[in-house]
């Protein structure tokens, strides 16, 4: 009897601790979202009040856009070819090989092009931004900027945000183009699909709206990658471990944001399309 009454308070304490831990997690999550929102707000404020210097912007555009081009082109090419390999036998069983171009192009225009370009950007650039800014935080370079009267958000975040926003549409178009070329190459030269019907069907299926659909979404992905990566770098824990963790978290959170935004924007744009063109 005495034993059971002694166990009851200890279970109650354990339950209390679990509720407190859960509360801590909730509070930290809300604080994190609030901090991130304030950070984004300050970035937008600086974006409209004073643009970065031409040198800083050109350097970011080169780092983020030009140097990402080869890896995005390579990934796009292979994804186009893989789509052809995966879909060919299914389509052939229905005698619809000439429709492969329609499927590949539509997938590349609307989904794979923008998501692939954004994922490569998050992996190559997002992690690097978080690591670079994290190192600057740990070595007090961000404090030094502030002490010299230069706002670190204007100086470090705005050029990177602008570069991601301006370069990701080009990277997306490159991923789409190379995917289309890769898919066409594999279907026509390896599977011997008739090129005339391949391109004729592909042209009918995917058009200007589909290209806009993908490129429009990519702008949101670019902004999310830049803001998340810069925020993670700015709020980096001390030491090499802190920088490594900031870099990893930046990629994971950017990737999750890309997926969530992709779903949300796809729903919004499809709804808009059917509202604007109900007979389509």
């Amino acid at each position: 009897m005495a034993n059971s009454t002694a166990k009851a308070p200890s279970r109650l304490h354990a339950l209390n601790d679990q509720i407190a831990d859960l509360g801590d997690v909730v509070v930290q999550s809300v604080e994190g979202v609030g901090d991130m929102t304030i950070f984004a707000g300050r970035t937008v404020m600086w974006l409209f009040s004073r643009w970065p210097s031409r040198d800083a912007l050109l350097s970011s555009l080169h780092q983020i856009g030009v140097r990402s081009l080869p890896v995005v082109a390579l990934t796009g090419t292979f994804i186009g070819m893989v789509l052809a390999v995966q879909a060919y036998y299914q389509f052939r069983s229905f005698g619809m090989e000439t429709r492969l171009g329609a499927m590949i192009n539509l997938s590349m225009f609307r989904e794979l092009g923008p998501v692939l370009a954004a994922t490569m950007l998050a992996g190559r650039v997002g992690s690097a931004i978080a690591a670079e800014l994290g190192t600057m935080r740990v070595t007090e370079q961000i404090d030094a900027l502030t002490s010299l009267g230069a706002n670190p958000v204007r100086y470090l975040v705005v050029p990177r945000l602008l570069a991601c926003l301006l370069m990701i549409p080009s990277l997306t178009v490159m991923a789409i183009f190379m995917g289309v070329v890769g898919g066409a190459f594999y279907c026509i030269y390896i599977f011997n699909v008739d090129p005339y019907f391949y391109f004729h069907n592909a042209q009918e299926a995917a058009g200007a709206w589909d290209l806009f659909y993908g490129v429009f979404k990519s702008g949101f992905f670019g902004v999310a990658i830049a803001l998340i990566s810069c925020y993670r770098g700015f709020h980096c824990d001390p030491g090499a471990e802190g920088v490594g963790r900031a870099s990893t978290i930046a990629f994971v959170q950017s990737f999750v944001a890309i997926l969530v935004l992709d779903l949300g924007l796809s729903i919004v744009m499809d709804t808009f399309y059917f509202f604007a063109w109900p007979d389509a």
Binding site: E140, D143, G149
Partner: protein, 273 residues
């Protein structure tokens, strides 16, 4: 009468921290700390590692916002200042960081010229001329201007940090551990630079250090902080405020141990005696 006396005393002060407390999460780092520096004075803030010296220094320039109390610079409380006013005020203050905190993506010339290009909007060539002058003041040749910070030794980086802090000809210079990690000769060079900078630029200096030799060599006045973890709830964190001669004669055993570098009590603590 009392007000007039206070006003005349305050008039000589360039910067003051009044009842400043800083808390990180659940940990108090500074509690009700009040210090000031008069114009032209060199103040050394000493104390054990972890007592909050660097936090205090960063609070003076609002790199850290205090949870209580205020910092007053030239008669103006800085807590309520907007971002633009604070930016203007920071151009009147130079900060020399412990590891120099040079921008490693820039050349030495760009590092030193940075505040001139940012605030005075000087053309790059003119800014480089001023940067060369500042580098010469800290004993560095113009040949270092094209180098990156990673190519310089620790002592040279600290001198570049001082040259960058001097670029805007500030009224107040804040030094965070200026001699830490340097050999005795380079430490002496830095101490001489601190003194010559004060004499040549008529600048007020606050130096955070745990190097007693350096504090004695450069300071007009010394204040000593103590870690909160070693104090009772009502004890003052400020153990000492006086001249270098007075600190040598201090009756407080904690001050004496620090000045003489005696580890007796700490070693007894380590062995649980």
């Amino acid at each position: 009468m009392v007000d007039a006396a206070k006003t005349s005393m305050d008039a000589g002060r360039l910067i003051a921290a009044e009842g400043v407390s800083v808390r990180f999460g659940r940990q108090d780092v500074l509690r009700d700390v009040t210090i000031h520096a008069r114009r032209g004075e060199t103040l050394a803030v000493i104390g054990e590692s972890g007592c909050g010296k660097t936090v205090l220094l960063k609070t003076l320039i609002r790199l850290i916002t205090p949870s209580r109390g205020e910092v007053v610079f030239d008669g103006q409380p800085i807590q309520g200042l907007g971002e633009r006013e604070m930016t203007r005020l920071r151009t009147r203050i130079g900060f020399v960081f412990q590891q120099a905190a040079l921008f490693d993506s820039m050349s030495i010339a760009d590092n030193v010229a940075f505040p001139l290009v940012e605030h005075r909007r000087l053309a790059r060539g003119d800014a480089y001329d001023v940067a060369a002058e500042r580098l010469a003041e800290v004993g560095l040749p113009t040949s270092v201007m094209v180098k990156k910070p990673a190519e310089l030794s620790g002592g040279m980086r600290k001198r570049v940090g001082l040259a960058r802090a001097l670029a805007m000809e500030p009224e107040l210079l804040l030094y965070d551990e200026p001699t830490t990690g340097l050999d005795p000769i380079m430490s002496a060079v830095i101490n001489e630079l601190i003194k010559s900078t004060r004499d040549n630029h008529d600048v007020t200096s606050i130096i955070v250090t745990h190097d007693m030799h350096s504090a004695m060599a450069v300071a007009d006045r010394i204040v000593m902080l103590h870690p909160l973890s070693r104090l009772g709830a009502d004890d003052s964190q400020l153990l000492f405020d006086g001249t270098p001669d007075e600190i040598k004669a201090s009756a407080d055993p904690r001050v004496n141990q620090f000045v003489r570098g005696e580890a007796g009590e700490r070693i007894r603590e380590m062995h649980g005696v």
